[in-house]
């Protein structure tokens, strides 16, 4: 409705403009008809004419500047085309002023014919350019070469016309008679302009109605005023009479409206859109910050809930495990009861392990892989044996370690990767119910086929074999989006997910049996610190 209202208002304004121009035109024509031709002194007329023309030239060249610059920025072929046309128009008006008889010292190149030709050509160029802009599709985006071709074309065309009008004047039909009026040929050209201006008015009014853009209505308004200017030019009887002066006034007004319309379209409207977009962007930014804060708070709450959940579930499960173990340690159970209690114990332990692992993974995933939190693998591995001994004081643990002496093995993951290493050592120790636990730990740097370097930790356990179930479970990467999968209680599955989160990988395997000895190995590879530095710099190669 607002658009319809806006269109109706635009059409009404056009109608009012037509009536206003027609009234001025009729009034001046009526005065001329009743009182006879009112001439003005040549000096006054030339002063007024020159002033109005200089303003028109300024408007033309301003339109050229605006359309040219905005056309290059927005890659608008149409904008560049109109800009080029108005460069020619401005120059033609300049030639018109300079060749106007009486302005400067008498020169063979100054004549009414020459001056009028430049003026008429300028009017024709304007309307032809505006009609072309209104009818041609201009779908293609403008290249830099287009802008050069168009400006060169405009200059060449102007110089060519200049040459013909000034130096080949004899070959052109006379446009201005000795009596100071236009010849019938000249009037024919003016009527042609009027017709084309009328066509332009209809086309731009139509486009304004279709697209609802005020610029089209402004151009139509400029053409309405221009039509009355052309009519005035075709009707004046003396070069310095009131009708001719009125024609120049109409012409200047037409230029002014056109200039304002194109200034509005090329400068004011993009600026308005930019301001609006900035406001929207600022609002979006504020909303985004708010949402980010809310998300951070929700994440923090979720982590706190998970923390409490994991803690309390472990506390709840702990007595179940202890009591079932106490039951199993006694001799009061039937085989059936023993089976049931055994299952309860196993499932309670699985539940406890799952919750603990889930919490460990959630803690790790709360850390962005980009936020480099380093771990000195050599230092941690050196101290790990002591930590495991302290938590398993009854176990006999013997380890051999091959760690780099002169290089610090810095990798990402911080305490989370340290937790993974502890978990692997703990599993190794707890998987051996009786007898000593023998481990070999090596740390070295490896380079993969894609050129990236990794720290590789191998924890080999002697006289130990992973069950096929453990091997299968370890291959399952915990992913709640795909369902929990078989790795529900496999700490290796969670450890693998944590290592993956920090850009590495983990796998477990049974080594080939030699001399009736079965060994197993857990391997972890983590990117070296320099890769992480590259990632932080944004170098993805």
């Amino acid at each position: 409705m607002a658009l319809l209202g806006s269109r109706a208002r635009s059409y009404s304004m056009l109608l009012v403009l037509v009536v206003a121009c027609a009234s001025v035109f009729s009034l001046v024509s009526a005065v001329e008809a009743t009182k006879g031709s009112t001439t003005i002194s040549s000096s006054s007329f030339i002063s007024a004419h020159t002033s109005l023309q200089l303003l028109s030239i300024s408007a033309s060249l301003s339109i050229f500047g605006i359309r040219w610059t905005s056309g290059r920025l927005t890659k608008s072929l149409q904008g560049l085309f109109i800009g080029g046309a108005f460069l020619s128009v401005g120059l033609f008006h300049l030639f018109h002023v300079l060749s106007y008889p009486g302005l400067l010292e008498s020169s063979p190149y100054m004549s009414s014919d020459t001056s009028t030709y430049f003026h008429v050509i300028a009017r024709l160029v304007i309307i032809v350019a505006l009609l072309a802009a209104a009818f041609l599709p201009f779908r293609r985006l403008a290249e830099v070469s287009d802008s050069i071709i168009i400006i060169l074309g405009a200059v060449v065309f102007t110089l060519l016309v200049f040459y013909v009008v000034v130096f080949q004047a004899d070959s052109l039909p006379s446009i201005h008679s000795e009596s100071g009026r236009l010849t019938s040929y000249g009037r024919g050209l003016e009527y042609t302009s009027v017709f084309l201006f009328g066509l332009g008015i209809l086309r731009y009014s139509y486009l304004g109605g279709i697209h609802g853009q005020s610029t089209h209505f402004y151009i139509a308004a400029a053409l309405v005023v221009g039509v009355f200017g052309e009519l005035s030019f075709s009707l004046y009887s003396q070069a310095f009479d009131l009708v001719n002066l009125m024609a120049y006034c109409f012409e200047f007004t037409s230029f002014l409206i056109l200039f304002l319309a194109l200034l509005r379209e090329s400068v004011a409207m993009p600026l308005e859109k930019l301001t609006l977009t900035r406001r929207v962007h600022e609002k979006d930014q504020t909303r985004l910050e708010l949402k980010t804060k809310e998300a951070e708070e929700a994440k923090s709450r979720a982590q706190a809930h998970l923390d409490f959940f994991a803690h309390d579930v472990s506390n709840i499960i702990s007595p179940i495990v202890s009591y079932t173990e106490m039951l199993l340690a006694g001799n009061d159970l039937t085989p059936q009861q023993r089976k049931y209690v055994g299952t309860i114990l196993k499932q309670a332990q699985r539940g406890g392990a799952f919750v603990a692992n889930l919490r460990r993974l959630a803690d790790a995933e709360a850390v962005s892989p980009d936020a480099f939190v380093g771990i000195d693998l050599g230092k941690v591995l050196l101290g790990m044996e002591e930590v495991v001994r302290s938590t398993h004081p009854t176990k006999i643990i013997s380890t051999t370690q091959a760690l780099p002496v002169d290089t610090r093995a810095i990798a990402p993951g911080g305490e989370h990767v340290e937790g993974v290493l502890y978990e692997i050592m703990k599993n190794a120790v707890e998987d051996v119910p009786e007898g000593p636990v023998r481990l070999s730990i090596t740390l070295r740097q490896v380079r993969h086929e894609h050129g990236k370097r990794y720290w590789q930790v191998c924890i080999t356990q002697f006289d130990h074999k992973f069950s096929s179930e453990s091997l299968a479970e370890a291959r399952v990467i915990y992913d709640p989006r795909r369902g929990i999968g078989r790795g529900i209680a496999s700490s290796y599955s969670f450890c693998s997910s944590i290592v993956n989160h920090f850009g590495g990988r983990l796998w477990i395997e049974n080594l080939p049996e030699t001399d009736k000895t079965q060994n197993s190995r857990v391997t972890i590879e983590l990117p070296t610190a320099d890769i992480m530095t590259d990632l932080l710099r944004g170098d993805q190669t």
Binding site: S314, I317, P319, Y323, E325, A356, R360, T391, T394
Partner: protein
Amino acid sequence: MTARIFIVDDERTVVETLREMLVMNGFDILGWAHNGEEAVRKYASFVPPPDIVIMDYRLPAKNGVEAMDEILELDPSARVLFVSADMNARSSALAGGAVGFILKPFRMREFLATVQTLVRKDAS
């Protein structure tokens, strides 16, 4: 002489489970506390002090590490074994002077073996 144990845990069921498990296996339960402040106060009142303190980490009023710090100030020879569901507390507990850390839920066999080892070390 039977080893005397002091249990600190805010979960009453856990305290009861530990107590029964330890009594069944020949240990003497000197007492128990449900928060950090109570733990420090009670420890100070024991004469002679307990052989082993079994300490939870997440406790009301004062957490397990803070309580252990105060107990060690009172008695530098105190032996504190952490039994907690907080895996993140392991490093701070061991760094603070704990003689061991067992993660809940634990295996009874592992737990009892650990306590017995500590008692033997204490006796020697």
